[in-house]
Subunit: 420 residues, 2 copies
């Protein structure tokens, strides 16, 4: 094992002096008890102890961000800082869940902190040799769909729940006819009695295979394989057998290790849905940043990753979404980029701002209601989204471009209110 | 599939009228888009839509608990409530991760809420027929260790990281000689170069098997099998082959589905470590309560579950710990109780208060430094813990009981300061 270190960056808030609090953090995650015990020698501490690499003080607060910090601070203030802490990789090797237990673990529980959040992780190079990362990622998704030179346009089957496989397949037929690139199951839809997974794969694939035979275009459909492991494997097999190219997993609900087991097969593109992420992300001084979070899933092999979207229907602001998209595009210890999936309340009207802020077309732009509720039907919805992106990349306003693109014009008229 | 519903209870905070916000919650997790789409009929909504069962208003706040709620509230106030929402189990069947995506999923992201936390889940009876729950639990752990009529006394090998298998085994020998019931790896220790998992199992088991041959007492050792799935399976096999009885998993780091896959084998007691739990639990209006969280892991088959401890070194207060212990003791849709693992800064001095508050001896009382740093050595540390529990159950004060129990007296003298 090479002599390398893994470095974690935390944003902390503490009533204690910053050096003292950070020493507690490092101690908890290496020796890890509240008194010195026999056997914990200086040699052990030197070799396996966590090292505080840097402390960058930030502002101070009069009130604690989180409950449970029992100490009294100097002048009653809670100090904030960004701190970097490192561990020898000898502590855990390439055991990814144990890396997580080391970098996060009991830290959130410490009464010495009134706020603690993992902002980023720097994996050493050898992790890139041990973990292959996304088998397909952005480049592989483009290759499998034949979409180059523009974002992929995708949608979600709605209503989320209740349609039969046959009804789903009919909708898929309409969307394929509208020249869509990508379609996905909703994360609420798994394998319920009214839409058994196998029947859905079968009905949808028949439509998409027929479309391919006729047009040469392979629409990518992300079937939601989320379930117990054996069932996920069977679902995966069913997609492969039907000629499908993509499987979706609700990452947080399934967990890292079963997801990696599926990714390891490497025959299907894995669409990573991040539902549940807000539970460990919405408070600014608790949990984990997307920047750190996405790295673990990329090492596990996820190919496409939800990042929310500009002017989304959720709580997240645009700056945060832009940071997430940049993170996806950045190679990770030599493993390829993951394709960012832009979604949530997207109608196409956000295309110019998305492009202005990110200057990239390497994304899957996904609209649910934005396509399905288009006044001209789904076909017009897809056309409008493409037109919106043409305008964005050409640097034209949507209003200008809409004058001679009627589908876009209808979108602007229908959805402008939704973003007001 | 029976005509049953699953009911989730949330604590919410919202700037909107409570009825309106709760309707958004229910809508997001059934139809799930921001505009009505074709195909979403009244019939579909009736059958698959989430139903708001009750709304219990609580207090109001002048400031939002979490950022990102974009709406303005009436009189600028944020209203809090406990709301109950139900779904037909037809929506997801017995697909546990999809239940999680339905009950949590994107809810934490909604801008309509300035706080949202899953407090509890009521599973319908048929879940108890589909999921076996803990194979061993409290009763099975007692049977395998032969400990009846008192709490199991356990410890964690410290230092957390750095000891060789041989050094670990030597320590285990001392602890076994001290008549301990249970020992565990630290969650920071997986399968590193300085303590390869197989060598550790081998060295430790040799000592414990010898102890069993000599005394007839089977000390339970929870080897930390946390790793990728194939490696966890191999680790499990190694424990079985060596005559071990227990495997530990860092639940949040591994994830629900790989954990269930391991639990399904049913040959070893599964010790569930909850490290990382604070990330989704420490803020009172975000994430998930232990009450709800533990139910998913119990359905997956976890036998022993960390609950923190009275007067712990972490942020959690005693009331919360007492609630967690009560939750573990309660049968879950017909599946047996899970054994609560009481730990974190435990020295034995908390035994009387733990017993007074919970009136139970069905627990694994776990001390790290509390045993290893005892002035008389680990043997005296174990004796002191047993004495503390004897005193607690007899209704005597530790000071009284310590007068003719020297190990307890030493503990009281050494650790009283730690709880001051």
């Amino acid at each position: 094992m090479p002599d390398e270190r893994i470095i974690a960056t935390y944003r902390i808030e503490t009533p204690l002096p910053l050096e003292q609090a950070t020493a507690v953090l490092a101690g908890e995650q290496s020796s890890g008890t509240f008194v010195n015990v026999p056997g914990e020698t200086d040699e052990l501490r030197r070799r396996y102890g966590a090292v505080v690499e840097s402390i960058t003080p930030l502002d101070e607060s009069k009130t604690p961000a989180l409950p449970g910090s029992r100490m009294k601070g100097n002048r009653g203030l809670y100090r904030r800082a960004d701190v970097r802490v490192s561990w020898s990789i000898e502590n855990f090797g390439y055991n990814l869940p144990t890396v997580i237990s080391t970098l996060q673990g009991n830290l959130y529980e410490l009464a010495q902190f009134s706020g603690l959040r993992l902002s980023d992780v720097e994996f050493p190079d050898s992790f890139g040799q041990h973990f292959a990362g996304p088998k397909f990622g952005t480049a592989g998704t483009r290759k499998m769909t034949g979409v180059e030179g523009r974002p992929l346009i995708g949608t979600i089957i709605k209503p989320s729940i209740g349609l039969s496989p046959q009804q789903t397949a009919e909708l898929v037929g309409k969307l394929a006819a509208a020249d869509i690139d990508f379609i996905k199951d909703d994360e609420l839809l798994g394998n319920p009695p009214h839409s058994p997974f196998k029947d859905r794969v079968s009905a949808v694939s028949e439509v998409l295979n027929r479309h391919f035979d006729k047009t040469g275009k392979k629409v990518m459909y992300a079937f939601n394989i989320t379930d117990e492991l054996d069932q996920m494997q069977a679902n995966y097999d069913a997609i492969l057998a039907a000629g499908g190219t993509c499987a979706m997993i609700s990452l947080n609900s399934v967990g890292l290790i079963a997801t990696k087991k599926i990714c390891d097969r490497g025959q299907l593109v894995i669409h990573g849905h991040r539902n549940g992420f807000g539970a460990m992300n919405r408070h600014p001084l608790l949990g984990i940043d997307f920047l750190a979070w996405q790295k673990f899933w990329r090492l596990a092999g996820v190919d496409q990753m939800h990042v929310n979207g500009i002017a989304n229907k959720f709580w997240e602001d645009d700056d945060s979404v832009v940071r997430s998209m940049a993170a996806c595009a950045k190679p990770l210890v030599g493993t390829p980029p993951v394709l960012p999936v832009v979604s949530s309340g997207q109608t196409g009207l956000q295309a110019p701002e998305t492009y202005r802020r990110t200057q990239t077309i390497d994304l899957l732009y996904q609209a649910g209601g934005g396509i399905m509720a288009h006044p001209g039907g789904p076909g017009a919805g897809v056309a409008a989204l493409r037109q919106a992106w043409e305008a964005a990349v050409a640097g034209k306003t949507l209003a200008d471009y809409a004058t001679d693109h009627s589908e876009l014009r209808q979108s602007v008229e229908k959805f402008a209110g939704a973003h007001a």
